[in-house]
């Protein structure tokens, strides 16, 4: 696993498969400086899954979770002039939104990297850091509240063809906000015993600053 300093200072893409009763959904999460679950596996495995995922072709249409995106404040994002001048959104990024003329510009800036993952077949989540709370440490580093941003528009018979990338680990320790969309795994999560925060083994925050490696 990555060094704990590295985890809290980097926005790491990680992938896993959420296993349901019979089906599996590939999930992408942007860690946003959060502490990664130990069960993700070794660093080499995470690197391998990242390489596999980013080499997948775009083969799906996507949907955006507008329930969440509408909550974002446009003032928190730069003006269109600044972004266009700096070249942050390249042409290929713009092309993703050809069919979304109504989408405000700041949402395109926010969602483009998640849409890229959705077009590769992943349900793409962002980790939220809630700064309104007094408990900033927990909010910033340990918050396990994830928000669905984009997901592929697939029919049930296509689900079996979705990419299998990453490590299967129990995700019932994470709280997912799924918006209006209901999938079978959502029902599975709600029915199973769920804890609201990621539980770490004692000694994870060892005094040496290095995380315990669970293999």
């Amino acid at each position: 696993m990555f060094d704990i300093d590295y985890q809290v200072t980097h926005d790491i893409d990680y992938f896993f498969v959420m296993q349901t009763m019979e089906k599996a959904r590939p999930i992408h999460i942007a860690s946003n400086g959060g502490v990664l679950p130990d069960k993700l596996g070794s660093m080499a495995y995470i690197q391998k899954s990242q390489n596999e995922a980013f080499n997948l072709p775009y083969q799906f249409d996507y949907e955006l979770n507008m329930d969440y995106l509408n909550l974002l404040n446009a003032e928190d994002f730069p003006q269109e002039v600044d972004v266009v001048e700096s070249g942050f959104l390249q042409t290929e990024h713009y092309n993703q939104f050809n069919d979304r003329v109504d989408l405000p510009f700041h949402l395109k800036v926010y969602a483009y990297s998640f849409v890229e993952m959705a077009r590769r077949g992943f349900w793409s989540f962002d980790r939220l850091t809630e700064y309104s709370t007094q408990d900033m440490y927990n909010a910033r580093y340990l918050s396990s509240v994830y928000q669905l941003v984009a997901y592929p528009k697939v029919s049930e018979d296509v689900v079996a063809q979705l990419p299998y990338v990453g490590h299967v680990f129990r995700s019932d320790s994470c709280k997912f906000y799924l918006g209006k969309e209901k999938w079978d795994f959502a029902e599975w999560i709600s029915s199973s015993k769920r804890i609201d925060t990621v539980q770490y083994e004692r000694g994870h925050y060892a005094s040496s600053g290095k995380p315990r490696i669970n293999r």
Binding site: D5, G33, M43, Q47, V83, G209
Partner: protein, 167 residues
């Protein structure tokens, strides 16, 4: 000037992303090749620098010059290093652990790894030996910290709000 700083910050993020994408294209991933969580711009006396959050390596730790070092040591309790050197990780222990996270053995706060620290260090290190070097970190001007993945403005962390002036 603040607008120039903010625009410069966006341009630096674009440069960083294009560099990273070139690395990703040849299969370099993971340790050292992920997007940083935060980017910050700092300005003082016409100098502008952009910093990214990252782990403090040995080389960068030696770059931290005295004012910043002293402020960190007076503001936060160092971890296991005495009061002479800047610790690798400075943390505040909780007296009563939050029940919600009682499984964690102790809670640390990461200091010196923020993008603001990186940007301020670059400014201060560039002015090393200069008589105009600031003695108070509060005079440094900062742009709004930005998350490089989404360009969303975020708020400075608790530690940086203590050390610097919030934009």
């Amino acid at each position: 000037m603040a607008n120039n700083l903010q625009t410069g910050l966006y341009k630096a993020i674009v440069t960083l992303k294009s560099d990273l994408e070139a690395d990703w294209a040849i299969g370099l991933r993971g340790n050292g090749y992920d997007l940083p969580t935060m980017a910050a711009g700092c300005e003082y006396a016409g100098f502008m620098k952009v910093g990214f959050s990252g782990k403090k390596g040995r080389r960068r730790r030696s770059d931290i010059i005295k004012p910043f070092d002293d402020l960190l040591l007076t503001a936060f309790k160092p971890f296991n290093r005495g009061n002479k050197k800047l610790p690798r990780i400075v943390f505040k222990k909780r007296r009563k652990p939050n029940n919600q996270y009682e499984t964690a053995s102790e809670v640390k706060w990461f200091v010196g790894t923020c993008a603001e620290d990186n940007a301020a260090n670059q400014i201060l290190y560039g002015l090393k030996g200069n008589p105009n070097k600031p003695n108070d970190l509060k005079v440094l001007t900062f742009a709004h910290p930005v998350r490089p993945r989404t360009l969303k403005r975020e708020r400075m962390c608790e530690v940086c709000r203590t050390l610097f002036t919030e934009p």
